[in-house]
């Protein structure tokens, strides 16, 4: 299925959970924040929420800033 991640279109396996998606990308869960279709998703929910066609995912992290 097609989803948009950080603004880019990507192919992803159907019914992938957010947690699985992040693991696939090699990201450690503690280091990121996830927003799905404009709503922040709590870390506890990542395992339960499955991605669908045309979902918009934002994967964010904290960086140095002033």
């Amino acid at each position: 299925m097609q989803i948009r991640v950080n603004g880019n279109l990507e192919e992803a396996a159907p019914a992938l959970s957010i947690k699985e998606y992040l693991t696939e990308k090699g990201l450690r869960p503690e280091s990121v924040v996830v927003e799905l279709n404009g709503q922040v998703v709590k870390r506890e929910e990542w395992g339960k929420i499955l991605l669908k066609e045309n979902d918009e995912l934002e994967v964010l992290r904290f960086v140095g800033g002033g």
Binding site: G26, S31, V33, E35, L60, R61, F62, V63, G64, G66
Partner: protein, 260 residues
Amino acid sequence: MEDKLLIGGQELESRLFIGTGKFSSHEIIPKVIAASGSQVITMAIRRVNFFNEQDNVLNYIDKKCILLPNTSGARNAEEAVRIARIAREAGCGNWVKIEVITDNKYLLPDNYETIRATEILVKEGFVVLPYMSPDLMAAKRLEEVGAAAVMPLGAPIGTNRGLMTRELIRILIAESKLPVIVDAGIGRPSQAAEAMEMGAAAVLVNTAIATAQDPVQTARAFCLAVRAGRMAFLSGPGAVQEYAVASSPLTGFLHKQGGE
């Protein structure tokens, strides 16, 4: 002497806030924070770069510090609000520095969007510290909508030019009931001291420390400068005779009429 800074329900001993941007590496940040004595640290939120995963800067910040995520990247109030909510959800606490910049040439903040974002976020229970251009009317509006402080720029971000806006900042300090935290443009410890002597509640320093040859030593210098400036402010100015008495007296007539 008890001289704590009261913001957002917190009592702070340090009046130096520092930023975590522009450092050559995150590793030096804990030492910088320790040397600065800062209790409020800012950071930003960005999209993850999947090809080059980097550390979460939060790992380098002492757990005792108050996190002040900024909304840098936001070009309008809605984007700033979104970033603030993300930061809170991520466990950053409920403090947020609103930074709405639509000007990429000078990085000057958009006061209007900042006021709008502040109004929304205050209602959602955030402790809002808005970064703004030192305009008295904007500051009054921010006060009205519930900001916890105002953060006027001393000079454009990264310029290290000191208090170019000092007269406007002085007016804010005199007229605003909110703590005035000078943010942006402070390039040297003496400039931080100057801001504190004028009566600023605190200063935020990022570029000057992060890009110094020796950031840790520089952080220490800023720590001392902020304390010195604050002490000077609290003890009041000395008498400096600036006036000269002109040749033609204006009150001579009182003596002529026999001191009636």
